[in-house]
Symmetry: C3
Subunit: 308 residues, 3 copies
């Protein structure tokens, strides 16, 4: 592997290795503090995503490396008509690894095809966002100690939410897991996810509109944001955005060791009062995202021969 475009680019073994590296970084940060001295990350955010950008840049700095940051709707070069391929070749002359966020699906893939350095997809349109899934996975690992035999509830916008699709993809590779898909009718998991992933792999799942009915059986509850920009009309958004809000009260029937995840930013899907519940893991997830990005940067730079 040279680049990471989709979470499934990683084998189960590679994922294990990243989890192990991340845990070693957490235990011994000083060991890694100069690992990337003299190397540079190109942080190309052609679509704004401050949180993800900060996570990548913090990761590179904690490895002792440097960052060149490009933000904005398009680079000036793109505005002048330059192709993504030429941008990839040029940026390869200036830096050692690229993290790219782009509104167009496939942009990260084209960048990886043309760059001579490793490329990490930091989100391309509604398609993939594999480092978010890495954050989710490390959080599950640290909270549960396993990737198997878990009942995983995913709740909210399951139609457009790419992080949900990636998580289902990733967790479907482990044994004994069961999915509980909780959403309004309008925002159900697309049938291709159900057919191509869940049914093909014989993963048990249920679909429901009733969060409370399934709450007691969940080991993981993955909440998602209902994004205004995904809706075709404002009326639908307003009607559905408050569905499935997680409150302290709703958590009364949940398991004592439930792990509540959310990719953030949240609007009001989770009441602020839930933050004080020890089962709330979404800010831990932010930290875990940084550690997994550190592990990933190290792995890709090593494979590219830039590190020993």
């Amino acid at each position: 592997m040279k680049s990471l475009i989709d979470i499934l680019d990683l084998t189960v073994e590679e994922l294990d290795e990243l989890i192990a590296t991340a845990q070693d970084i957490i235990a011994n940060p000083q060991k890694y503090a100069e690992a990337c001295r003299g190397l540079k990350l190109a942080s190309l955010f052609f679509e704004p995503s401050t949180r993800t950008r900060m996570s990548f840049e913090a990761a590179m700095y904690e490895l002792g490396g440097n960052v060149i940051s490009v933000t904005g709707a398009g680079t000036s070069s793109a505005a002048k008509g330059e192709s993504v391929a030429d941008t990839a070749k040029t940026v390869s002359c200036y830096t050692d690894i690229i993290a790219i966020r782009h509104p167009k699906e496939g942009a990260a893939y084209v960048t990886a095809k043309n760059a001579t350095i490793p490329v990490i997809n930091a989100g391309d349109g509604g398609h993939c966002h594999p480092t978010q899934t890495l954050a989710d996975l490390l959080t599950i690992w640290r909270e549960k100690g396993r990737f198997t035999n878990l009942t995983i509830g995913v709740c909210g916008d399951l139609k457009f939410g790419r992080t949900v699709h990636s998580l289902i993809n990733a967790m479907s590779r482990y044994e004994g897991n069961k999915f509980v898909l909780i959403s309004p009718e309008e925002l159900k998991v697309p049938s291709y996810v159900k057919k191509d992933v869940l049914q093909q792999k014989h993963i048990p799942y249920v679909q429901t509109t009733d969060l409370m009915a399934v709450m007691p059986e969940l080991d993981i509850l993955y909440m998602t944001r209902v994004q205004r920009e995904r809706f075709f009309n404002e009326e639908d958004y307003l009607r559905l955005k408050d569905s499935y809000i997680l409150t302290v009260d709703k958590l009364k029937t949940a398991k004592p060791d439930l792990a509540i995840l959310h990719p953030l930013p949240r609007v009001n899907e989770i009441s602020v009062a839930v933050d004080d519940d020890p089962r709330a893991c979404y800010f831990k997830q932010v930290l875990n995202g940084k550690y997994m990005r550190m592990a990933l940067i190290l792995k890709l730079l090593k494979e590219a021969g830039k590190l020993n």
Copy 2:
């Protein structure tokens, strides 16, 4: 103290300590060149202020640290509906100290309440801008050798100019000072500043519209910019913006050791010809601002247990 939101968050003793640290940094920069190695400043400028941002970032780099910079009218997360509180919690996962500039009054305070790392208010609306006051104070200290028994003229926009209010607050804590408040009628110091600060502490002051009449008695002359954005109509701005322009000629009756300060940027409140006068201290003030920010970053990181 964990964060700095308002200049009065600092005791007189803490201020003395910052002044002493800044002077040691000036004398021995090499001693501090690696002090913050491995630590990161989040430079969050939700309102543009290139000068202040550069000062904070230069300060962190001269301490050997790194910087993650966020600029623009709102982060993408804020645009997606995230609260300031959640942003504070998230940024705390990525960095070690925050400098925040925000158009809304109170935003820095809310950030400090929710962050798990120290927060420095780099300006919130028309409210506070304490690190500008730190720059002013170090300049007064280095030029005058004391904070007491000074006749301090403040001139220009005394109504909206937050740096003036902070300076009055800060210098009112020392003995023997006298204020000369020089402005057009429309831009006089608000009565709450006069009542709550000057009168309550029995600080002598005079109000005047005539800069020349008071020039000979001043030890400090603090000029301010008449900001277009503070006016409700263009006509008032145009009529008043050229009042109280400082020229070489007007300085003829001034003391030979007057110190002329200005928070910058200037438009035309001070004639460029004044720059060559040894009494012009406003570019020294820029440098002093960097040193005080260095001292402040060190102090807050130490108190947060991030530094020895």
Copy 3:
């Protein structure tokens, strides 16, 4: 020399020295990896140019220095009415060297006049862009081993293309060179370049509209982009933009050791298929630009007494 505004600010001897330094950097990067430790580049891009900005920032990082980056149509200070002169003085308090890109001709010069640190012109309007020419020259040197007795074709927009004018200026100082100026009638080299440079120095040149007719004699072929923003009407742009597109087929009659250069970004002036031809040097040129910027930063910081 304290600053670099125009390529002709450099003597032939200084250019030789920069070329020699760049080649030493290429051969021994580790020798330079900490050369600028503790120093800061102000990367001021008041006009967007991501590629040039990245090149400067990569250069500074590869020298072990830090970067403070300012991008956007104007700084907030400029928006508040600050002069370029005051900005220059202020930035001098925060950093050690400035790279400035500005839409106004002369802005870099005014900055250099007022700054107390070295200034590098990273492009000012249609005027000068000397570090692009440094990239071009190192490429010619590395490909040809000499600056003399070369037949240099320049093709495309020779009227507005400032990089072409600078290259002609720079290469006219060496003996035995000949220029072949290839463009449509509408985009010919301005007469002042022909009179003041080529004719005055008795440099042989030909003007032609026919790329194929002159192809066999060229040692260098410098292609340029036909920029939409340089045209007064859309119709002229559309008619001319595809003139003089370089293809694999057109290269059949070219010398086997032709060096094809382009300042990038390209739109379609050079077919992507040409990229695989060993004579295509434009991505090497990108790399060479970084090395020459490193050499230049070192030279200017040394002359400013900031480096030994």
